[in-house]
């Protein structure tokens, strides 16, 4: 897909730490839209091996805050053209997205989200239980009798895409324009002098640079330690699993916050399933039987006929969570150190718009207007961007 460059150069205009979707997208737009090509992307593992290849591939813009809705809506717009942009099939598939409500209180939040969404031109509507049944005939509306579905937020633009191909597409596009992608290159330190970034140390040598973009998901606190910044980010694992392939029966994406389930069926017929965060802080991507048992139990409440279907694989990724469930993006108190972090459990869908806005922010030295609600300093001023009500499941 792309070159394996040799040694690191002595200096770059921009160093991007983290070769996941977000980092590579920023590299791509820096080169394509801003003409900045003396760029190195440093990845400690391999491309597509981090959270970009571990998420459950759901794309949606039915958020709760105006900041969130505008931001994710722009992302969905970018997603639709990506396959053509890359000349690579991302299997972007618009499916429609139901967020199920099992209580009147949940239904109220769905109506709230629908109103905010429509105000910003995003297609979302509150629907009743009959509409859910029409959209998903195989669903058990009673959920085994203890959590009957009373309605849902239906979001027609909801989609899925082949996630590792997103990293490959952005990586190849950046590579073709001159960006160097260095895999198996671990950052060991960041040089800061008089409050400004001057270089990056790696296990393959040192680099001089004045601009660093940090896009490392669950490793964000470790990188922030290197520049001496404190943040509210805490890391929990998020687990997921996938079933054996079965005949196509589930067209839309189904989410239930109360039952801690989100599920979609891939083009290959597998059911990709996720749930809530692991319950305690952990910097390790191990899988647990507890997770698989509880997610399977909730899946069977929604879809009892799946009882004979087998689980093929389970895995985990590390989520950098924030107190308000919104990301932390843009400039930091360290001049030249830019952050694209706090992407918790909601980062995949934002890949294109993060690349767009972060590349503009790094190129101009000014926060892009779309990321103004996500500033690093918002906590110090008690100005949170409360997005928890739009998280797919209760965490």
């Amino acid at each position: 897909m792309f070159r394996r460059p040799g040694r690191l150069a002595a200096a770059y205009d921009v160093v991007i730490i983290g070769g996941g979707g977000h980092g590579l997208a920023a590299a791509y737009y820096l080169a394509r839209d801003h003409g900045i090509t003396r760029v190195a992307v440093l990845e400690k593992g391999y491309i597509g091996g981090g959270n970009t290849g571990r998420n459950t591939t759901i794309i949606r813009s039915n958020y709760l805050t105006p900041e969130g809705v505008r931001f994710y809506d722009e992302s969905v717009r970018l997603w639709r053209d990506l396959s053509e942009d890359f000349d690579l099939n991302l299997f972007y598939s618009t499916r429609g997205h139901y967020t199920l409500a099992h209580t009147d209180a949940a239904m109220r939040t769905m109506r709230w989200r629908a109103e905010v969404n429509r105000h910003f031109g995003v297609e979302s509507e509150a629907v009743d239980a009959d509409a859910v049944k029409r959209g998903v005939p195989m669903i058990d509306l009673t959920c085994g009798g203890h959590a009957p579905i009373v309605g849902a937020l239906y979001h027609a633009p909801g989609a899925i895409a082949r996630h590792d191909a997103v990293a490959w597409g952005y990586g190849r596009g950046a590579d073709l324009r001159g960006v160097e992608i260095h895999q198996e290159t671990k950052v060991t330190g960041i040089e800061v002098r008089a409050g400004r970034v001057v270089g990056v140390r790696t296990d393959r040598g040192n680099i001089a640079t004045e601009r660093v973009l940090c896009a490392v998901a669950g490793s964000t606190p470790t990188l922030l330690d290197m520049v001496g910044l404190r943040s509210p980010i805490y890391v929990h694992p998020l687990q997921a699993m996938v079933s054996e392939p079965v005949k196509p029966w589930l067209d839309p994406i189904i989410v239930s916050g109360s039952l801690h389930v989100y599920v979609s069926q891939t083009a290959r017929g597998e059911l990709v399933m996720g749930a809530s965060l692991d319950p305690y802080e952990l910097h390790q991507a191990r899988s647990t039987l507890d997770f698989m048992e509880s997610l399977s139990a909730h899946m069977l409440e929604l879809f009892p006929f799946l009882s004979e279907v087998k689980v093929n694989r389970q895995w985990a990724g590390l989520s950098d969570m924030t107190p308000d469930f919104a990301p932390i993006m843009g400039k930091t108190p360290i001049e030249g150190f830019y952050l694209d972090a706090g992407w918790g459990t909601w980062g995949f869908k934002a890949t294109p718009v993060c690349g767009k806005t972060m590349s503009a922010t790094v190129a101009t030295g000014r926060n892009h207007p779309l990321i103004e609600g996500f500033g690093f300093d918002r906590f110090a001023h008690y100005r949170l961007t409360g997005e928890k009500g739009a998280a797919s499941v209760g965490h």
Partner: protein, 95 residues
């Protein structure tokens, strides 16, 4: 980590426990600045390492402290909150 040793109830499955965050010293809200207070309210030590944490054995409602390695998912020691109070007299919080 599948079993945790509760200081009151002995070894129990980890699913019986609830995690409640790192043990931290609170600044005096009457005397600290807004910035110090927001640092206490929001900021965390998010990188991997050995951490003293609050845990609760849900069935018995017993709160205690666990020293845990968050990189290896391993509990090094558990002790009661009373013991933590004694230790706190000699303990210097991380800035």
């Amino acid at each position: 980590m599948k079993i945790m040793v509760c200081p009151l109830n002995g070894p129990r499955p980890v699913s019986e426990f609830a995690y409640a965050g790192e043990l931290r010293a609170s600044p005096d809200p009457e005397r600290c600045s807004d910035l110090e207070w927001s640092d206490y309210v929001f900021n965390r030590s998010g990188s991997p390492g050995l951490k003293h944490e609050w845990w609760c054995h849900i069935a018995s409602g017993f709160w205690f402290i666990a020293l845990r390695d968050t990189a290896r998912d391993e509990v090094i020691a558990t002790y009661s909150a009373e013991r933590a109070r004694e230790l706190a007299k000699t303990w210097v919080p991380v800035a």
